[in-house]
Amino acid sequence: MSGGLFGSMGISASGMSADRLRMDVVAENLANADTTRGANGQPYQRKEVILQEAPGGSTFADTLAGAQAPGTQSVGGGVEVTGIVADPSPPRRVYDPGHPDADAQGYVTLPNVNPVTEMVDLITSSRGYEANVQAMNAAKQMFTRTLDILH
């Protein structure tokens, strides 16, 4: 066993921070759903968070436990964000000749942000965050009960 209940609280914390970051990115996408001029002068491009399972057994406690009991299988270390990447899907094109950013044919290039997709992502990450909070509370409750031994 590596890390025990404190380990599981760390895992839940990694899930919470990953979900919070996903919410930040969704909020940025929604806020820029109609931005025709991004930082580089081009229309805003939708951003996505890439998640990956974090390798377990990297903390001091895990190394110590592994040295004391060789052959112990370490549990995964939660989730980590490997990067925020731009969504390469094509932008929307809307006919609006009066728009200052319209091209010669009168089309405006708008970001590839679909508010419906963003709302679904928002709810997914919000529910994910709640699930991680529940898991952390369960671990906390278990830990408190352990402290009750012989009292």
């Binding site: 899930g15 998640l51 399972e53 052959g71 549990v75 699930a131 991680n132 278990m142």
Partner: protein, 121 residues
Amino acid sequence: MGLFDVTQIALEQALAGSAQRQQLLANNLANADTPGFKRSDLDFHATLAGALANGASPAQIESLQFTPQTDTTSSMQADGNNVDVDTEMAKLSQNALDYESLVSVANARLKMLSTAIGYGQ
């Protein structure tokens, strides 16, 4: 026979197994949206029950290791992830209750022992 009998050692091992399972279930939940992630779980009850049924000695029980199992066969989502958050939450509650009942039993037995040795009187 030492101070602690097989049952007490098995209870402590079950607590360790339950804590390890909590970690696995938390990891499953944290990776509920990680593409390609497969859930892991641990059946410490079966491992302990098997060892006790085979008449393992206290020392053997004490050195038991629980090996997590990864379910690679099923898929819940198109990206290959097989974490069902509802099932994980149910298992999480079940494991927390498991742990609490193990603590209660272990505690009751320790109190009996401390009464027997006249501790705290």
